[in-house]
């Protein structure tokens, strides 16, 4: 059996998996969905998660905390890293180049969706409009929208944003209203 000598050996069980291994298996996929929505690029999303989990690997104390706390921390770090990445002008340029190329080729066509070059262009313009509108929403509202529409519960959103669970509804309602108004301006000027 192999020993993961470079990662903290917290709670290595009979399966041979470390605590870190289990956290990675538990959160990687769902975090990918969250971070991808920010970046729109699988490669960038993977790299962002590598950074996030590297930070976790260095934080033995954090790993010892309950899963819920670790998950909230990972979502917070993942979102921060993703937005930082997005803000980098150089990376953003490269990303936009790639998004245009990869999303077109990578995505499976949906039923009833426009196909051919015209459909591809329409889809890409729609995505760009969503991202532009999202960028105009205040940061906290933006994170709340991303979390909720990635499928997280109010309790998980509250833990991530360090809010009372009872405050999530109003933040989300305001965020959705603000986003919708901005998005409508983008798409129907």
């Amino acid at each position: 059996m192999l020993k993961a000598i470079d990662l903290p050996q917290v709670e290595a069980g009979s399966s041979g998996l470390t605590r870190f291994d289990r956290l990675f298996a538990q959160f990687y996929s769902e975090l990918f969905g969250l971070v991808y929505r920010v970046l729109g690029d699988r490669m960038e999303a993977e790299d962002t998660l590598q950074e996030a989990f590297l930070k976790l690997a260095d934080a033995a104390d954090l790993q010892a905390k309950p899963d819920g706390e670790v998950g909230a921390w990972l979502r917070r770090v993942g979102l921060n890293l993703a937005f930082n990445r997005l803000r980098s002008a150089r990376r953003t340029r490269a990303r936009l180049e790639r998004v245009g190329r990869l999303e077109r080729a990578d995505e499976e066509p949906l039923e009833n969706e426009l196909t051919g070059p015209a459909g591809l262009i329409v889809r890409e313009e729609d995505r760009a409009a969503v991202r532009r509108a999202l960028a105009e929403v205040p940061e906290r509202q933006r994170e709340c929208l991303l979390l909720r529409h990635s499928g997280y519960s109010y309790a998980e959103i509250a833990a991530t944003l360090d809010l009372a669970v009872g405050s999530v509804g109003v933040l989300l309602a305001r965020a959705e209203h603000a986003f919708r108004a901005t998005y409508r301006r983008q798409t129907h000027p």
């Binding site: 059996m1 020993k3 990662l7 991808y36 590598q50 990578d106 109010y154 998005y183």
Partner: protein
């Protein structure tokens, strides 16, 4: 007493109710009798539906599978500096050729460098007992062959390599591979990749670079490539009996030990210099990549171990997938054949002739990219791009 007889629930409470976060029947009762709240809930519902539809556009086409998650974890482990015996980073020629093609490729490539290395370790040893008596001093890559791997075998190979790193010491061009310094070493290796003109690149790698026939290049491609040179390097792995014993003890196998004759034996992998021609189009900097490298050479120095013995030992490493071992044993001319791991869940492949030389033509299952790899006249060639395989083959055939 009901909510309808009290003040109206606030915005947040109604939003939570819409998401079934609070399913108290009192909300329904209140709503039935409160026109103001009915209007509010209708607005909230519209906002939520509109945002939901917009955000659906941002969702990924699929989430990473369990196998891809394992590969990502192993990639992180390597990045963090797990003592992988031979991690080639940007200097490894084959993965570089196909590195940036698309996500499916990229996912697969995570373990390819490691797999190539392991394949080499195993493949340069004699095939079958008939050859066991011979002692071959060297492996020299002269041709390529496909070795099919699955996500699971890919993971197993990486794990096996990681374990191998505990049996000795790895020396890379930047020194002894220390887990704590692996990231800096990788960065240093990356910095050695230099831009150059065609003539400078040729002088640097020691041969005249083959270039594509412009007539075969797709329209829209910038005809002037960016040229990058990766210097030759050498990785040495020296078996260390005491280190291996400590490792076996720590993993609960005190009865296992490295044979004495392995102590001090060094496996030397000489990675040739390589040149990469990177062609851009308006959507990507790496729409087409053409690479050329010299021979990859593997030697054994020191110790008293023969290659057949080395082979037996490597094949006996715990965790090495038997399907991989079986395929490597099937390779004819093992001492000059570079095995190319093919992640068959992501990539289709076929054996093809390029300019009279046998090679591999690969294309990913999504149709995003394709690649060609072949050996000719002592050089390893690779062409990769976001192209149909037929178009890519035309470019490969036109290299002069």
């Amino acid at each position: 007493m009901t909510i309808s007889s009290l003040s109206c629930p606030d915005l947040g409470a109604w939003r939570a109710w819409l998401d079934h976060e609070d399913e108290s029947p009192r909300f329904d009762e209140h709503l039935a009798g409160c026109p103001a709240c009915q209007r509010l809930v209708a607005d909230l519902r519209e906002d939520a539906a509109s945002v939901h539809a917009a955000f659906a556009l941002l969702a990924p086409s699929g989430l990473p599978s369990a196998a891809e998650t394992v590969v990502a974890r192993e990639r992180l482990r390597s990045q963090r500096g797990h003592p992988t015996p031979i991690r080639l980073h940007t200097q490894e020629p084959v993965p570089m050729f196909i590195r940036r093609i698309s996500t499916p490729w990229r996912v697969a490539v995570g373990g390819v460098a490691a797999a190539v290395t392991l394949s080499l370790l195993v493949a340069f040893t004699p095939q079958g007992s008939a050859a066991a008596a011979s002692f071959l001093a060297q492996f020299r890559s002269q041709q390529v062959a496909a070795v099919e791997i699955s996500p699971q075998t890919q993971t197993d190979i990486i794990k096996t390599l990681n374990a191998l790193g505990n049996l000795g010491t790895v020396k890379t061009p930047s020194g002894v591979l220390d887990p704590a310094r692996a990231e800096a070493a990788a960065r240093s290796a990356g910095e050695q990749v230099k831009s150059a003109t065609l003539a400078e690149a040729g002088a640097s790698v020691g041969f005249t670079l083959a270039t594509p026939d412009p007539a075969t290049l797709p329209a829209g491609l910038d005809k002037a490539p960016q040229i990058r040179v990766m210097p030759a390097s050498q990785v040495r792995f020296t078996f260390d009996k005491s280190k291996a014993s400590a490792y076996f003890r720590s993993t609960g196998h005190p009865d296992v030990s490295l044979p004495d004759k392995f102590d001090g034996a060094t496996l030397v992998v000489s990675i040739p210099s390589a040149a990469i021609l990177q062609y851009s189009d308006k959507s990507a900097k790496d729409a087409l990549i053409v690479g050329e490298a010299g021979e990859l050479v593997v030697d054994v120095e020191g110790g008293k171990v023969s290659l057949p013995e080395m082979r037996d030992f490597l094949l006996g490493l715990p965790g090495l997938p038997q399907s991989t071992v079986g395929q490597l044993k099937q390779i004819q001319n093992w001492n000059e054949t570079l095995p190319i791991p093919i992640p068959v869940d992501k990539v289709n492949w076929q054996s093809t002739v390029f300019n009279g030389n046998q090679g591999l033509l690969l294309n990913d299952n999504s149709g995003v990219g394709s690649a060609a790899i072949w050996h000719a006249n002592g050089h390893l060639y690779g062409v990769a791009g976001s192209l149909k395989a037929t178009d890519l083959k035309r470019i490969a055939d036109g290299l002069r």
